[in-house]
Amino acid sequence: MATSSLAQAFGRLRATQVWKSIFRRGPARTNRTRSLAVFGNLFLHALPVKVRDKSLRVRATYYLGSITFFLFVVLVITGILLMLYYHPAVPQAYRDMKDLGFVVSNGVFLRNLHRLAAQAMVVAVFWHMFHVFYRGGYRPPREFNWVVGVGLLLVTLFLSYTGYLLPWDQLAFWAITVGTNIISAMPILGRPVRFMLLGGNLVGENALLRFYVLHCVILPLIAIVLVGVHFWRIQKDGGLTVKETFQEENGRKEE
């Protein structure tokens, strides 16, 4: 009884003009209306309307790309919350990091969630890439999406590296000193690139601020754009690779 009255209430809600003005269609009961529901939604339209049931089978390597994406979502949410207590200034940055550990309620939880999710994301990205590589998922027509994926790998690593400096402790300082000196070993461009990245000749206030802006604004924006292209290309390149299909295609080529 309760469920049917709930369904009735939902039906009445669907009949209202407000609901119709937002969703513009009835319940998704047929394949056509289900497809339209995906097509007509900004957040879903980059995703495929149909997937092969084989690509939904649970395996050890199931949803590695999605795991990476959801770790990124976790990092964005925890990162925005951490920004509310963090000043990218010397020496306030180190004190804020300590405050998050000892003073702010649940600060330890959020900071560790951000840090561990970041490390897990690097692992997930590599695992995803290994999986795609050994499954041959980089082959035509998916070769461009592999290149986009390599771009996402680089963005992930740069995000990790820029985030490394922000606690402003000894580990951060020397890691960035050593890392930017590796950059300056590059012929001709090395020293200017290091100077621009640090905003000076040594790891100081300018470097902290630049790494903060890269970490919180520039690199996440690049990541979001590349993730959008990556997801859209999955659909355009014929959905996720499936082991069986791959073997069929291979067999056909050999014949």
Binding site: W174, T177, V178, N181, I182, F195, M196, G199, G200, N201, L202, G204, E205, N206
Partner: protein, 160 residues
């Protein structure tokens, strides 16, 4: 008469192609200018970093056959019987700060294990070059003056 598919390079381009070209060139110039202006903006003109030239104090502060580490400047002031020289304390490998180990008569880097002699020459480790010597002079007041921007030959020693 049918129009040619592509305008010949000689110049009978149609109006659309002409404006496309003008617009592309204008956008190119504007983009190049924006890149240059942004590059200039991103290079700071004033740096709030320690001065590369500094006074190390009176020569009498340094006993003969001594090695003194100046932490703020990251430089060793070495005094031998012959005179003074200044050796960088920044490892030539990846920029870590080295440490003077008097018991081993060595300068050692904690990051990747490079080792140097007190005169900066390399003993071992991943460091590609010896530690550089900086120009050291006496001011009119008789104080030692080190210029970290001027690298000198190790044979150059300030006699006092």
């Amino acid at each position: 008469m049918s129009e040619p598919e592509k305008p010949s390079p000689g110049g009978d381009a149609n109006r659309r192609d002409f404006f496309n070209e003008v617009a592309s060139v204008a956008l190119g110039i504007a983009g190049l200018g924006a890149a240059v202006v942004t590059y200039r903006f991103l290079s700071p003109n004033v740096l709030f970093e320690p001065s590369p030239t500094f006074r190390a104090g009176n020569p009498d502060l340094f006993p003969v056959n001594s090695m003194t580490y100046l932490q703020d400047q990251q430089v060793y002031i070495v005094r031998t019987k012959e005179g003074f020289y200044a050796v960088s304390a920044v490892c030539t490998h990846l920029g870590c700060i080295t440490q003077w180990k008097p018991e081993a008569d060595q300068i050692a880097c904690p990051c990747h294990g490079s080792k140097f002699r007190p005169d900066g020459t390399k003993i071992e480790g991943p460091a590609p070059r010896p530690l550089p010597h900086f120009a050291i002079t006496l001011t009119a007041e008789g104080e030692l003056m080190v210029d970290k921007l001027e690298v000198v030959k190790p044979s150059q020693i300030l006699k006092v």
